[in-house]
Symmetry: C2
Subunit: 254 residues, 2 copies
DNA sequence: AAGTGGTCTAGACCACCGT
DNA sequence: CGGTGGTCTAGACCACTTG
């Protein structure tokens, strides 16, 4: 691979900005393209470090550093002696990566997603702005309940970029044993890699209270999430009401 | 530095467990010791990679990898061309690392901590268990308000391991311009490096409502935090009530 | 110009996994 | 055993900061 430092960019201005990128980062970008294009699918093993080095014409150490960063971002998973694999939401190890609600007891409880509705609708103005589409463009709106130990603890409203999830129906959601993000990636090739959550405390309104089996006016944790796929493209927006009577949202700060 | 692999551990059992540690990790542990002992103080530059390599008798690459991990854990900060520095809570860049509350507008607002009380008291049973001390041992209990734009948005009760903060008084808190964690590290040599937060939605009780200037029964975000110093030692426990009317708790998931 | 961290290489060897 | 990722080294050179 040709290097892209100043010596190889004779046309660059003397005060070049944002033009230098180390080799391993260029390799990383090419690898992300391979992931995005589906050349390497979730759960697959990617080529060995030596093969990648040969393919991109760099040393193994450089290929390794590219892989290191992708592994640090949870796009790849290294397993010594076996190989390097594309991360997948089907993997139980990454199951709670995007669900921070845990029972107070700390014990891992049985978990169940119960979809209630799924319909195409025009995007409201606020959602359109957030998902970076034109107001009125189609979004797929899903309502569902999350149950821990047969008890509803989260009432979610989810809005998806309709164009990426053609053919997603309530029946399909109901028949899926997987987590939502696992379904997205296996059935539609859309991989969620990052999300931002905004939390507030609110009071339960009548419909939400009914869905969660609590009193109207009960305090609930409102979690709004914007989830992104490759290239910082927002794909899913959620508004979830979490009942924090016997569960809580856990976060670790570093 | 002598390597500690199986060849150098003739006494190890054939099924040795937890005994192998790569060189760079041993270097890292020694560096943590230097940080803990105060040989390198917050804000200081640590020795250059070449010096560290010579000191520990390893190659520069190995010293570098140790530094890499410490930088990834926010214990060190690398600055190209200048050196590697001990991270500090005084640095405005790491100011919001442990405070995830942001105004809805997104604009960085003026911030002010107003300590209300500070007194020595015997640890309640629950706090003692959490801080891993005997019930009845002394803890330092602090109450304070956090104000954004002159408006109280957080009411905190903080409990500290009293032994580590000898001489901390309300007057001292009031006269400090710094953040609490910045004061801890500069005045008591206690550096907070990690914390766990547990969030729930609750209703405001009378005293909390009064402190925050909201109605009784107003929904509040209850944030319980346990903060650790070196060696996974819990040092501070907080219970904070966050008013999320014009602010929210922000979190990023990877 | 000197000193720092950052990149890249090539090669040796170790630890782990499967067959 | 062969193949994979993981560690360690030594050396060259680049990019950034300071004087």
């Amino acid at each position: 691979m040709a290097r892209m430092d100043s010596h190889d960019s004779p046309s660059s201005s003397p005060h070049q900005a944002l033009s230098f990128s180390p080799l391993y980062r260029q390799v990383k970008q090419l690898m992300i393209k391979s992931l995005e294009a589906g050349e390497w699918r979730p759960g697959d093993a990617i080529p060995s470090e030596a093969e990648l080095a040969a393919r991109f014409n760099v040393s193994q150490g450089t290929a390794r550093k590219a892989i290191d960063e992708l592994a640090a971002e949870n796009l790849l998973v290294r397993r010594q002696g076996k190989g390097t694999f594309v991360a997948t939401h089907s993997d139980p190890r990454s199951f709670f990566r995007f669900l921070r609600l845990v029972p107070d007891s700390g014990v891992l409880s049985t978990y169940c997603s119960e979809p209630l509705s799924c319909q195409l609708q025009p995007a409201q103005e606020d959602v359109a702005r957030i998902l970076r589409i034109a107001p009125g463009e189609s979004v797929l709106a899903i309502e569902r309940l999350l149950k821990f130990e047969q008890k509803a603890v989260v009432a979610d409203k989810i809005q998806l970029l309709a164009g990426l999830f053609d053919g997603l129906t309530l029946e399909r959601l109901k028949s899926s044993e997987r987590s939502l993000y696992s379904l997205y990636e296996s059935a539609f090739g859309v991989r969620m890699i990052r999300a931002e959550e905004h939390l507030r405390a609110v009071l339960a309104d009548a419909p939400t209270a009914a869905a969660l089996g609590v009193e109207v006016g009960c305090p609930l944790l409102l979690v709004e999430r914007l989830a992104y796929t490759y290239g910082n493209k927002p794909v899913e927006w959620r508004r979830g009401y979490y009942c924090t009577h016997e569960h809580h949202y856990f976060n670790e700060l570093f």
